[in-house]
């Protein structure tokens, strides 16, 4: 019996001109969205490759210079211009710490338009002022991007609703429902079969479109794609469940359409924005500006006590004392700076920690709000799969800061020992190893959407049980 419903439903669906038109439009949108996402990813990778390439070139050039100076084959004029100086090398030739795009990065822009994807550590400059912004037109950031996530989170539900809103109501309105119900079939199984077929059609359409468009753009297949498809299937299931529930109330096609669009507006537009507003009101982001103020006060103070600080620094770090104290250390300015950084850190670290902690807590709390709408969950899952969520960028920032430390710690003791670079040293320099340490959360998002769908289906069943056939036959 099921096969019968499915067969005729299939025939009905494809003979409907609008279905074909909508499918084509959707295909076009997906194509544009994926293409867009892929362009961004290629740009990102290109800029990383360029930075790395330029650094390699500069490094080999410097290696040559250092080598010739060390062998006395080259003069450098003023002391400041010595290529062997640890300070200049450390400040200008930092390695590129880069967050390469994950295989599914084209799926969701997420936060990737706000941040830069690579950074070079420096010896000078405070951690809090390390800029991670990328140059962009804020209008673009405001409007958001036309990526796969946009098409799936916002437009896919509408496609689902268009495919299913009049499933029951058009039969009721045309009267063919009466004829169907006079046959020995249960309304429930009949409706489920129709929906199941349409669900299969929508999911099949998306999968086929995805595969075709991906092949077109030469994007490699990966296991992540399977999870992506699964996540999409679950989201689509939720919306079919909503459509199912609404059709069981027996309203007209027009009323169904309005009710379903209202549900879409509430779940996809209103709830996320209300939640976002609430999150900011209830758990506001702690003030960075306050943190800066504490830092600056400590900084001004440290400047006043500069040499005093350096002396006590030497006292605390006897291992850094110079071998030959008769020769003035050529890095005198830097040493004072490093010593003061140490003092500053001790004075300001509690403020920094407090800030970081408060920010982490705020984001944790806000994360909990995501369970209020499947749209939020879905977007969150997509960002996670694409590697462009807030967590990924926070992690990257931390790794950049960590590498910054590592980089400095290579140079500082050597500068205190008043050394100069050898060409062979260049092979010993610390290398950044970026590895995403973010725990994937998409599985949780997926599960929660399934819960949403299950709840809706459960309510539907209850509604079905408590309604009489009159509801679907009265006109």
């Amino acid at each position: 019996m099921f096969r019968l419903h499915v067969k005729y439903e299939w025939v009905s669906v494809w003979r409907d001109r609008w279905v074909v038109v909508l499918s084509l439009i959707f295909f076009g949108l997906l194509f544009f969205a994926i293409r867009n996402g892929q362009e961004k990813v290629l740009e990102r990778q290109a800029s990383i490759a360029k930075a790395r390439g330029e650094l390699r070139q500069a490094e080999s050039k410097r290696r040559g210079e250092i080598d010739s100076v060390a062998r006395g084959l080259r003069q450098y004029g003023e002391a400041r211009r010595n290529p062997r100086l640890l300070s200049t090398y450390g400040q200008r030739m930092g390695k590129v710490v880069a967050m390469d795009a994950q295989p599914l990065a084209f799926v969701a822009t997420g936060q990737s338009d706000l941040f830069t994807h690579f950074a070079k550590p420096k010896l000078y400059g405070e951690v809090y002022s390390l800029g991670f912004s990328e140059l962009a037109n804020p209008v673009q950031l405001l409007f958001g991007s036309f990526d796969l996530a946009f098409v799936c989170v916002y437009l896919l539900p509408l496609l689902v609703l268009a495919f299913s809103y009049n499933l029951l109501s058009s039969d009721k309105e045309s009267g063919s429902l009466r004829l169907t119900l006079s046959q020995p079939v249960s309304l429930f199984s009949w409706l489920v079969a129709k929906l199941a077929l349409r669900y299969a059609v929508v999911v099949g359409l998306i999968a086929a479109t995805l595969l075709i468009v991906l092949a077109w753009h030469g994007i490699a297949m990966s296991t992540g794609l399977f999870w992506l498809l699964l996540l999409i299937c679950v989201y689509v299931l939720f919306w079919f469940a909503v459509s199912f529930l609404v059709s069981l109330f027996g309203w007209s096609s027009g009323q169904n359409a309005i009710v379903l669009v209202s549900v879409w507006v509430v779940l996809v537009l209103l709830v996320p924005s209300i939640v976002s507003q609430l999150a900011n009101a209830v758990y506001p982001v702690p003030s960075r500006i306050n943190m800066i103020h504490n830092y600056r006060v400590a900084e001004a103070d440290a400047e006043k006590r500069a040499s005093e600080i350096l002396t006590s620094y030497y006292r605390d770090h006897p291992e850094l004392g110079q071998q030959d104290s008769t020769v003035a250390n050529q890095y005198q300015f830097w040493l004072k700076y490093f010593a003061s950084v140490d003092v500053l850190k001790k004075a300001v670290q509690p403020v920094l920690d407090e800030y970081d902690g408060a920010l982490a807590q705020q984001q944790e709390w806000v994360d909990r709000f995501k369970v209020l709408s499947p749209a939020i969950l879905f977007q969150d899952g997509l960002n996670d799969l694409a590697g462009t969520s807030t967590a990924h960028y926070t992690d990257f920032r931390h790794q950049v800061i960590e590498f910054n430390e590592t980089w400095r710690n290579y140079f500082i003791p050597r500068m205190f020992a008043n050394e100069l670079l050898q060409a062979s040293d260049l092979d010993q320099l610390p290398e950044p190893r970026y590895q995403s340490r973010v725990q994937p959360v998409w599985a949780i998002d997926l599960l929660l959407i399934v819960v949403f769908a299950a709840v809706v289906l459960g309510v539907s069943f209850r509604v079905y049980q408590t309604s009489s056939a009159e509801r679907w036959l009265a006109s």
Binding site: V265, S276, A279, V285, H293
Partner: protein, 451 residues
């Protein structure tokens, strides 16, 4: 009724936003005071060191930003002003928030720009088609009613409640905003202008809704079409235009930008390196001018003078590169202006942001003013060093008197007159939308099928 809910939502949003706004402004006020006190109490030191210590400029928030926060969330709030470097605005709010915030906030502009047109569609989609379906249209037309009367009747039926509610919302909003203490600079004119913009915007949607309702047989089809138009105008076009604008006029990466500036700096005049060619030339000229043979004999501090000249040169380099950024932004703006032909949302949005002083142009103005202040600040400090000390006198110290003598950064925003002038183009496009869609509506009603 639906519109009443909308009105309540907007007023609530303003109320809630007020709290947040007050908080943020208090933070900024405190920060401003702190920055000034940090500056003033930095102790006695060489003026050039003070220039390196620098200070901060904070972008103020204006009452109208409650109605439309524009791009504020995506642009920095403070600029660090120091010698030798022009910095970008830091602490973009969006970077410290989660991806949830990218969904948009339930701010008044969200409701006014997105939700109200949707409600208009919900009310007006079957204004004509319902009559056709039920057969009453046939009766009406057989009574001899003119298409103009029919159209205007339907139009007013939708417009009147929308206009009344918009008026009420803006009135209440205006009163709430006018009563925000301390964060003054509120005037009613821009509010009225903004209300006018919104009324035009809503008028376009009413026109299009009635147009579609008159042209299409089935009400459900009208609904789907109008929904599609709404999605295209408010969601699709802005995003698609961003894609095109970015493809046509891309920004360099931050690193590229910095490296280009660094390159120009190395190849240009700088203040710390007396071996640089330009500075040598300047030295020779100055020595000749004063008829002495060594910089030590000059009647002022040559080091300070050189550093100031270097600063000016660097400022030129920065100006050149930031100008490139500005041009990219302006070219992208043109792209948005062009695609306004396909979406009434775009000109309305830009107008709204401009009137609330939260568009990118306002940000640029702040950044430019901050840069002017920075140059003034560094100039004063270097100048003091030049006049009050001699070459090589690196232990010269200035104190609080000098720090206080430099005025605090007082930002004067763009005057409304120039905002209106700059955005006249957007206004005309929106007006054109209103007129053309209105004409389309009248034509559709005249030619519609009666049964």
């Amino acid at each position: 009724m639906a519109l009443l809910t909308v009105a309540i939502l907007v007023v609530t949003a303003i109320g809630v936003g007020r709290q947040y706004y007050r908080q943020v402004n208090e933070q900024h006020e405190a920060a401003r005071r702190n920055a000034r006190s940090e500056w003033v109490s930095q102790g006695s030191k060489n003026p050039h060191s003070a220039a390196h210590y620098g200070t901060y400029a904070f972008k103020p928030k204006y009452p109208m930003s409650l109605l439309d926060n524009g791009v504020d969330k995506y642009s920095g709030v403070s600029i660090y002003l120091e010698a030798h470097k022009r910095n970008d605005a830091q602490y973009m709010a969006a970077q410290d928030q989660t991806a949830l915030s990218r969904f948009g906030d339930l701010s008044p502009d969200f409701i006014l720009m997105f939700m109200v047109p949707l409600f208009i569609i919900l009310i007006a989609f079957n204004s004509v088609s319902r009559e056709r379906e039920s057969g009453t249209l046939r009766v009406m037309m057989s009574q001899g009613i003119s298409p103009w009367k029919l159209a205007s009747g339907k139009w007013l039926a939708v417009f009147t409640p929308v206009a009344v509610l918009t008026g009420l919302v803006f009135l209440v909003g205006g009163v709430l905003l006018a009563n925000l203490e301390d964060f003054g600079l509120f005037s009613w004119w821009p509010l009225i202008l903004l209300a006018l913009v919104y009324l035009l915007y809503y008028g376009v949607f009413i026109n299009v809704s009635i147009l579609v309702s008159a042209s299409v047989r089935k009400s459900s089809l009208a609904f789907v079409l109008l929904l599609g138009i709404w999605i295209l105008s408010c969601l699709g076009m802005p995003k698609a235009t961003s894609v095109v604008a970015d493809a046509l006029y891309p920004y360099p990466t931050q690193l590229e930008f910095e490296e280009q500036i660094a390159e120009d700096k190395t190849n240009g005049l700088n203040g710390h390196d007396p071996w640089n060619a330009e500075s040598k030339k300047l030295e020779a000229e100055t020595l000749q001018k004063y008829g002495v043979d060594s910089v030590k004999k000059l009647p002022f501090n040559w080091d300070g003078y050189l550093m100031q000249k270097g600063e000016e040169h660097e400022a030129e380099i920065y100006f050149k590169h930031y100008q490139v950024l500005k041009e990219i932004y302006q070219k992208q703006s043109k792209v948005y202006r062009t695609s306004a032909a396909l979406s009434p949302f775009l000109p309305a949005r830009f107008l709204s942001m401009a009137l609330c002083r939260t568009d990118y142009h306002a940000h640029w103005h702040f950044a430019d003013e901050a840069e002017k202040y920075r140059l003034m600040l560094v100039g004063r400090l270097n100048g003091d060093m030049v006049d009050n000390s001699r070459t090589g006198q690196w232990d010269y110290r200035a104190d609080e008197k000098l720090w206080r003598a430099v005025p605090d950064f007082a930002y004067e925003p763009v005057r409304y007159q120039s905002i209106v002038e700059a955005n006249a183009g957007h206004f005309l496009v929106l007006l054109a939308w209103w007129v053309l869609s209105g004409v389309g509506m009248l034509v559709a009603v005249r030619q519609m099928k009666v049964f």
